[in-house]
Amino acid sequence: MSETEEPRRRVIGTPSSEPAALDRVVSERGQEIDAVAVLPSDPENLGHAKRIERIVALCFILAFFAGVGFIAAYVGIEVGPSAPAHTDLVDEAFRSNLALGLSLAVALLAIGTGSMLWVRHLTPNIEVVEHRHALRSDPEDRAKFEEFFTKGAQVSQVTKRPLLRRTMLLATAPLALAPLVLLRDLGPLPEDSLRVTAWRKGLRAVVFGTNRPLTPADISIPGSMITVIPEGYAGDDDALAKSGVILIKFAPGQLQVPTVYNGKTQLYGMNWTVDNIVAYSKICTHVGCPVALYEQTTHHILCPCHQSTFDAAHGAKVIFGPAARPLPQLPMGTDADGYLVALSDFTQPVGPSFWERG
């Protein structure tokens, strides 16, 4: 004798408020259920089932055509210079990607949707719960096993003969420790590769991409900036990864690089600039992105990755952001022909800090 209650506001996932007659069949612990007898052979509402069947059939037919379309797109749309009517690679790739992606997506989605509707609406919605018998063995079996295990240990002589036991451990110990030694040998140690770059005394700075050496007169306009690499390393990506340098030209009086020493090693100084042109490492001291967003009006260098901001006029001091150290300065001078050259390598490691940097 139940009154009809106010129906609950339903959202996706709210279980139905009224249980069906054969909603759940639960067994006693350890008892089997005859699934053949319990499962209904047909859905309850045949009209609804027929409607769902039609929808599922449509989904599968759509999947069929989409799948055929996928094969047709793969065979039909050719991409690349060897294609018969080759126009533009990007254009062809776009059309091919679009056709393949759409057809595959539609095919898989249609199969998935059809299968889901089938299972949800055409198969019986009955929970059959067979409780397991207890997993724990009964006490007699446990006692018997304990006896058997102890007898087995005695029979194997391991418990009775300590010499055997101890020499067995001795034999296996070195082999167990061997992987430690073997794995230590994997790969070369960095040694000093983190502390040196490709720059050397007398190496000219050339424009990256065109490999043209520069004189101070080439960078004469205040506010100029250009990326340079050491001459001769144009194709060597390993060397270039650490050796990118930005040259920035300032108006007279604006550049005030402080003179900084680390013990006996000079790190920054105005004597390392040429005609108000200063050279900083392009590798950010935070995580190593190329930091080359130079704002001429504020003379700030900004790294695009995490927005570390360096003040280029004052030795690339960090004024914002997660970088912990200023950008290293490359000592610059001119050679006999007037081209800009490095006076030595960087006097501190470039790029992100590392544990042994000291």
Binding site: H48, V90, F94, G223, M225, T227, L293, Q296
Partner: protein
């Protein structure tokens, strides 16, 4: 109309009202603010420096000073050169609407002759880079591949790999390169407007500048390999679509998969 009134208490009525109001406001704004005016290309007249001076005093001297010597609000233009004037004025950045972090591109009120006149007067004050000729910015025979390398090294970190623009500090930004013509790109590299550094002819030669222009213009017209450009800013917009769209869709599917099925109990319509 009565059907709308009848549904005024529908749960979605509030959302529909807000959406409708936004649509109306947007349409009104775009209609009333108007499109951009384009400056017509003039006949080749010799620039009149006197005319340029009077135009300058009318429109620019309030901020830049009567002799372009600069005031507290705007820098001196002595030595800035004709190219800088042509760039700033032809893109509409000058005369600046307001003193802010950066001057955005906007439709210009000046004809090309007027801009050239003002540029001529500024150039007469202190020299500076000249306006490039048509042949100087022509991309015929340019090496687009080298332009790509130079763009990636020197320009992409601010302007984006596809020239879609990027953010700088304190409200400044590097604008998208989709609207600039070849002359404006050349002038921008030559003069380094606002926060942009200067790429003089000594560091990037005129031929290399043409290569960069060829690359920028070429990239503008290339189709997007995936179909949608998503702003051409790369991981940000693509990640947004993947997280919100893709993951959201997957979450909805998961909710549907695990929802408890309702049993339909319809007494009527038994076959």
């Amino acid at each position: 109309m009565s059907s709308i009134i009848a549904r005024r208490r529908h749960p979605a009525a509030g959302y529909a009202a807000v959406a409708g109001g936004l649509v109306v406001a947007g349409v009104l704004y775009s209609v009333l603010s108007g499109g951009g005016a384009s400056a017509a290309a003039p006949a080749n007249a010799s620039t009149s420096i006197a005319e340029g001076k009077s135009l300058f005093i009318q429109s620019c001297s309030t901020c830049h000073g009567l002799d372009a010597q600069g005031t507290s609000q705007a820098p001196s233009l002595v030595g800035a050169g004709a190219a800088a004037v042509d760039f700033q004025m032809s893109t509409g950045r000058m005369p600046a609407k307001e003193i802010g972090a950066e001057n955005p591109r906007k439709p210009t009120d000046f004809t090309k002759t007027q801009i050239y006149d003002i540029a001529g007067w500024i150039a007469s004050l202190g020299g500076g880079p000249a306006i490039p000729s048509a042949s100087q910015v022509s991309t015929a025979g340019a090496n687009t591949a080298l332009g790509y390398e130079l763009f990636n090294t020197n320009c992409a970190q601010c302007h984006g790999f596809a020239g879609a623009g990027g953010a700088l500090t304190y409200g400044k930004y590097a604008p998208a390169l989709s609207a600039a013509n070849a002359t404006q790109i050349y002038e921008a590299m030559l003069t380094g407007p606002e926060a942009m550094p200067v790429f003089g002819d000594g560091t990037i030669t005129p031929a290399e500048k043409r290569d960069i222009i060829a690359y920028v213009i070429n990239t503008r017209t290339e189709p997007n390999p995936g179909g949608l450009s998503l702003g051409r800013t790369g991981p940000v917009t693509e990640g947004l679509v993947a997280w919100l769209g893709g993951l959201g869709f997957l979450v909805l599917i998961a909710m549907w998969l695990t929802a408890k099925r309702r049993d339909r109990r319809i007494e009527s319509e038994q076959e």
